[in-house]
Symmetry: C2
Subunit: 413 residues, 2 copies
């Protein structure tokens, strides 16, 4: 008898047939006695159809009206799912963002949730209704319709779970959980039973597109247990929570993340003096280019080298900016390289276990991979390597950290 | 510098191209300095698409969710039109029924408007915005989305015009005004400059499908001048208002209406005693069959004949009911005839002009048409005739009352 928030994305509700399948699943949870709030996206294709209409009218559609337009997509799904539940004898009621009152700021097309009114929802839950909420949308304080930006339905689900103090927020998707690494790269990649919010954030930002980063942050902040599950296959999925997995079974490393969308820029021979880093990165930021890894080597002969990575698509613009900066600073040279990849080992376990870094570096050395840059955070070590070694690196690390093996209880013996 | 409410139906906003044309028209009114509130329907086909989805899910879709579903259609149009206006440099803002706060009762799919909050609209009008309102929808007092039923956008427009005390409510449609009769039947049918609410009601109920009856009633009740205009052709249209046209120019008769969707039922030889009419019509009403014309002839030999008309599609059911009633009442016989037509002359002028009835009957007699039934109201005289004489009757009456001639000022000479 718990309260569960379930989120189904556009593909999971992409046709009447799929909406019926979702209704079957929701009905089963209801039959088991759970309170259920369902958050749905627009049927797949619908949001793009609406955006297409807007672009036929206006090159840069009015943001306020864009939100009015696309928010209809989710509303359609809520009504259809409520009907499908009713057909199964399950009392159901749809809510749009305004009806719940999901209060957001007024940043149209990328609004942030401020507050959720849970009074009506609790009343309907108490009366035995399954509540079907339109994801991705809210209202500002003047009653204007807002949207949270693409993928915002995950955030809606987590925010509702937090506001309603739900026992679990289930995100249904087209994968059956979070994996130790990309199964397309490593055959032995294994579904994780459990992962912490921090680990999930580090994994997600590296390209596991399972969950919206904002939703994970939100869930972590309000300690809402998140579970990633497959929409149409049964299985326990992966639980994302504050707690580390049972200590006895905790592997040091949760997974290997990677990313080949970055490019590396180096500015050589810049004067080694205070403020030089901001003189380099300031203009890059002003050009709206996001920087990921930053490394500055120790100075020699009063000059230093400064290296950072940017998204690969931003490389030409970043190089242009950097060439200007180089002239101003009297730097010696600018070098660009887009044939790089980033590989990271992620795990809260490494906080208490020394030796992760050396194990990582030696695993790479064993297969002859040269490390170009290194950065570390509390629960992640990332290296930049030549792009062509990416798969080899991921496989070597996956095997070195024994991620292909099921966690055992042997440590408890 | 007046305030105008303009309503564009589904065909008028049926494509992006047409929405652009509507935006052109609205922009011109705005450029002339008028305050403009635009009420729009869903793009043609969209409401049917949504209803189709609902029926794929559920044979009898939940009325509450049906309203949630179909109300998205108008919302889409409001956003697109607001964008199209913005593109033309015209400040515009969309409103759905909940945002205006068009408060209705909770009769889902056929709600009635109770109250309109004009505060936000007036503020935006004062700030120079064109306001684009989703027709056909509202909210009940609990914030549930309601719809007014098919064609309800006309009602929305009139109700807004009443609430905002607009100078005129313009209904744009695919005809350029209200005609003296159907131009497909009479070549000389002429667009009326002006007609009263009462006349329009009598014309509309007879099958001129220009305006929703409820909207005309509403406009009459709140004295909102209505104008019927063509969406994409220029012209003055027809003004529908409380006032009769300039007395000097008033023809006695505004137009000839007709209807061939009815069928006639007669029950012969029923006892002539109090309560017999309700014993006949009670069961018909209980079977949800609407009755139009009712005629009871004077009694003879303590029995009487009772005749009424019903919609032609209801004839088989009505005949069945009437056969049962005939047995109960000991009536002699039931006769049914579906090959009939109703022809009416309509005009507020006939209140003060005697002789309309005799002119009508003699015009029909002149061409050899037999009158089967007659009913009259204050501003209408209707006759039931054999269906095959319909066109002949309409043409004869149109010509007899000189409706094909422009009203002249000769009476003023």
């Amino acid at each position: 008898m718990s309260l569960i928030v379930q989120k189904f994305g556009g593909t999971s509700v992409g046709s009447i047939e799929r909406i019926e399948q979702v209704a079957d699943k929701v009905s089963r949870f209801r039959a088991d006695g759970h309170g259920v709030v369902v958050v749905v996206s627009a049927m797949s294709g619908e949001t793009n159809r609406l955006i297409g209409l807007a672009h036929e009218v206006q090159e840069r559609p009015l943001p306020r009206e864009m939100d009015v337009l696309v928010s209809t997509g989710e509303q359609v799904t809520t009504a259809l799912l409520a009907m499908a539940l009713d057909k199964r004898g399950v009392k159901a009621k749809s809510y749009n963002g305004s009806q719940v009152r999901i209060l957001t700021d007024d940043a149209h097309t990328k609004a942030r949730i401020r507050e959720i009114d849970d009074a009506r929802l609790h009343a309907d839950l108490d009366a035995g209704y399954v509540i079907v909420v339109a994801g991705f949308q809210g209202v500002d304080e003047h009653g204007n319709i807002t949207t949270l930006g693409r993928g915002g339905s995950d955030t809606t689900a987590v925010a509702l779970a937090a506001a309603l103090k739900a026992d679990e927020c289930q995100i249904y998707t087209d994968v059956d959980g979070v994996y130790t690494t990309d199964p397309r790269v490593v055959d032995g990649a294994r579904r994780l039973e459990q992962i912490t919010f921090e680990e999930m954030l580090e994994m997600a930002s590296m390209g596991s597109k399972v969950l919206q980063i904002r939703a994970v942050e939100f869930a972590g902040k309000y300690n809402v247990p998140l579970r990633v599950l497959h929409s149409f296959q049964d299985g326990p999925g992966t639980l994302i929570s504050l707690e580390e997995a049972n200590e006895m079974e905790t592997p040091t490393i949760a997974g290997i993340a990677f990313n080949r969308d970055e490019a590396k820029l180096t500015i050589l021979g810049v004067p080694d003096m205070p403020g030089v880093a901001s003189k380099i990165l300031g203009p890059v930021g002003e050009a709206n280019i996001e920087v990921d890894v930053i490394v500055q080597n120790v100075a020699e002969d009063n000059t230093t080298d400064f290296t950072f990575t940017v998204g690969r698509v931003d490389l030409p613009r970043a190089e242009e900016v950097l060439n200007r900066v180089a002239v101003e600073l009297g730097a010696r040279e600018v070098r660009a390289d887009s044939k790089i990849a980033k590989v990271s080992v992620v795990g809260v376990g490494m906080r208490s276990h020394s030796g992760v870094a050396s194990q990582m570096f030696s695993a790479l050395a064993d297969v002859g991979i040269n490390i170009q840059m290194i950065t570390t955070s509390e629960i992640k070590i990332s290296v930049i390597i030549d792009e062509k070694f990416l798969e080899l690196a991921v496989r070597s690390l996956h095997s070195s950290f024994e991620l292909d093996k099921e966690p055992t209880d042997e440590a408890a013996a």
